[in-house]
């Protein structure tokens, strides 16, 4: 599904290398977690994969189902099946959540040569999915993320994920700012979306989230590279001992 090979990335405006030869492969149907200390480049990885401006790829490649992601516009990556759940979802006053969602769903369908959903069809689907995430019809009508609590914003991200049905989901610190109940709701939303042909890359600081969303593989990232990969027990080890030993081990 997602293959990243020897990826080197620097900031466009300064001479600062962030990713220094990162390699990673997430096969179809698997959930991979990335953990790592602050400043290791985790969020940069999510932004570079989804096409945010401000970064320059100086080497390596990233493909989704064999297609090179790095040459595509952000909306093309989305239509190709990539989704980034934001750490800080953006508020957009004056644009209704529903209008935004329907535009996004239909733009992707159009880009893939599929028929667009009618208002009626869309409404039916979105209401059902929103109910599962305990998102009220009133929240759907409000402007995108405006006046949403931290938990509501993250649930709204998962609703978008559920509506857009991406094949590769990247979650950038989705657990930050969530209370226990919100984390459970978000995790249930994600788990409901797990399927043999959908993969997840879950970026997190804490093992806590991984109790709810069980990963197949855990990667430890430091200084722009993956320094160790292992099973779920690796996350427990980090929780127990911090990153110190792992960093020392990696030299």
């Amino acid at each position: 599904m997602l293959k990243i090979n020897n990826l080197h990335v620097k900031l466009e405006e300064e001479d600062k290398q962030i990713l220094k030869g990162l390699s990673l492969e997430v096969p179809a149907g698997e959930v991979h977690a990335i953990m790592g200390p602050n400043g290791s480049g985790k969020s940069t990885l999510s932004y570079v994969l989804s096409g945010r401006d401000g970064y320059e790829v100086t080497g390596g490649e990233a493909t989704l189902d064999g297609e090179s992601l790095l040459d595509m516009e952000p909306e093309e990556r989305a239509a190709a099946g990539l989704f980034l759940a934001f750490q800080y979802p953006v508020e957009i006053p004056g644009v209704g959540n529903m209008t935004f969602l329907r535009t996004a769903v239909n733009a992707q369908r159009k880009a893939r040569g599929e028929e667009e959903l009618s208002s009626g069809e869309f409404l039916k689907v979105v209401r059902a999915k929103a109910a599962e995430l305990q998102i009220s019809p009133e929240m759907l009508k409000r402007p995108v993320n405006v006046g949403f609590s931290g938990g509501e914003k993250k649930r709204n991200e998962i609703l978008q994920m559920a509506m857009l049905e991406p094949r590769m989901c990247i979650m950038d610190e989705t657990d930050s700012g969530l209370d226990v109940d919100a984390m459970r709701l978000v995790s249930e939303g994600v788990n409901a979306l797990r399927s043999p042909d959908r993969s997840f890359l879950v970026i997190t600081h804490y093992q806590r989230l991984l109790n709810h969303i069980q990963p197949d593989v855990v990667h430890i990232m430091s200084n722009g590279r993956i320094i160790k990969s292992g099973g779920p027990e690796l996350a427990l080890e980090v929780e127990e001992n911090g990153y110190g030993d792992l960093l020392a081990e990696a030299g």
Binding site: P74, E75, A79, F83, P93, V95, A107, P143
Partner: protein, 443 residues
């Protein structure tokens, strides 16, 4: 929106300078007009004297510092190519009483019957001297000439042949809609409305359609205690034209004026609002959403507002939003004057521009002048570009870049549109804006 730059200057009250105003230019301006005879002759004669006394504005006049007065000074406008309307005007589909003006003159044949319960409507051209509006016509305009002179409003009082005289005595079941049409390529349309809303009465006044090569519209609004007027105007030009408008309002105790203008393209436009909040607990909201694309024609749009709080507990809001691209220029001059004794005044003013490229510019001159010590007044002015974080967020969901920018433009304008109280009107404007922005390469 990100606020990447702030161009805010707070200045002293502008002084009208004694720039040379050649009498022959003024005479030429007047000679091109066919001055009306008949009703309201005293008011018209006084206005003509006022205009002669003020003279034409010059580029050195402080009040015209950001907007070149010459297109308004010229005896004749540059002719336009007249095209058929490309689409139905805003508000065309709703239940209302429609009054059609062609090149600034009432067109009875195309208009609805002017009978509507709760409102009396006459036309200026047909009014006799005993008309109720004789006491108001030109009076608010004259009062609004201090401390800043507005010569083209005086010219309008002297020279406008037609307009509506609307007296609201109840709460009519539907809005009154003034629909402008244009016929002559060189139309120099001038109209003058007087709207008197009696105590406790309420009216929604809509304006849309297209006017000619040059326009000069004046609306005098007199709100009795507890009266309400909602004024929603949509002005869109498909080719370069020159336009000037003035609203003069007198707001009595507990009365409310809510005015919103949508302006799309044009060439050289100036809209002035002069509002006297004379009674306690008066409310005045003035807002505009402006879209200017310099590729359609050289675009210059000026909103100039002067709100005077003369009584206690007045609430005023000015919300002006301009989206500018391809070398378009936006201007905002907004003033709040709080007179001695106007305690507990709540005055708010915001002017913001969204520049879609580096060739466009926004010039803002917010002013506060306060002579009471227990008031709340605030003003802000920002100039910014498209918010890259929001743009990326939308695109990351699959929304194509062009469509994402439309969303962000609508988002930027939302605060101004919020000032339209009627939700269905607001939705109609928003949908039309969306369609304009989406289907046209140029705004």
């Amino acid at each position: 929106m990100s606020d990447t730059a702030v161009k805010t200057k707070v200045q002293q009250t502008p002084q009208v300078s004694g720039a040379p105003k050649p009498a022959d230019a003024l005479d030429a301006r007047l000679a091109a007009l066919d001055l009306p005879q008949g009703a309201f002759a005293p008011a018209r004669a006084e206005a003509l004297a006022r205009f002669r006394d003020m003279g034409l504005p010059g580029p050195r006049d402080e009040y015209w510092r950001y907007t070149d007065p010459r297109p308004f000074n010229a005896p004749e406008p540059s002719p336009l190519t007249v095209e058929a309307a490309l689409e139905s005007p805003l508000f065309a589909e709703r239940d209302k009483l429609t009054i059609v003006f062609v090149d600034g003159r009432f067109d009875a044949a195309s208009s609805d019957d002017l009978t509507l319960e709760g409102v009396e409507i006459d036309t200026l051209a047909q009014a006799g001297d005993g008309h109720w509006a004789a006491d108001l016509f030109g009076r608010l305009e004259a009062a609004g000439q201090k401390p800043v002179e507005r010569p083209f409003a005086a010219l309008n009082t002297a020279a406008a042949h037609d307009g509506l005289l609307i007296r609201v005595t109840g709460k009519p079941s539907k809005p009154v809609h003034v629909l402008h049409r244009r016929r002559a390529a060189d139309a120099d349309a001038m109209w003058h409305h007087v709207v008197r809303v009696e105590s406790g009465a309420e009216l929604t006044l809509l304006e849309s359609g297209m006017v000619g090569a040059r326009s000069n519209g004046v609306v005098e609004v007199d709100l009795a205690p507890g009266a309400k007027l909602h004024h929603v105007a949509a002005k869109r030009a498909v080719d370069p034209r020159v336009g000037l408008s003035h609203v003069f309002a007198h707001v009595a105790e507990g009365a409310a004026l809510k005015s919103f203008t949508l302006a799309v393209n044009g060439q050289h436009m100036r809209n002035e609002a002069v509002i006297d909040m004379a009674g306690d607990d008066a409310v005045a909201h003035v807002a505009a959403a402006v879209l200017g694309d310099g590729d359609v024609g050289p675009f210059h749009h000026d909103d100039t507002v002067f709100i005077t709080h003369g009584a206690e507990r007045g609430e005023s809001r000015q919300v002006f939003k301009k989206v500018l691209k391809n070398g378009a220029t936006g201007v905002f001059q907004g003033k709040i004057l709080v007179k001695p004794g106007a305690q507990k005044t709540d005055g708010y003013q915001i002017s913001q521009a969204l520049l879609l490229d580096e060739a466009s510019q926004f010039l803002a001159k917010p002013e506060l002048e306060i002579y009471a010590d227990d008031v709340k007044c605030s003003h802000g002015s920002t100039t910014g570009a498209i918010d890259e974080d929001a743009l990326f967020y939308l695109r990351s969901r699959g929304v194509p870049r062009e469509r994402a920018i439309v969303f962000l433009v609508l988002s930027f304008l939302a605060d101004a549109l919020e000032e339209v109280e009627d939700e269905s009107l607001r939705d109609e404007i928003n949908e039309r804006l969306d369609a304009w922005l989406t289907t046209r390469p140029q705004i």
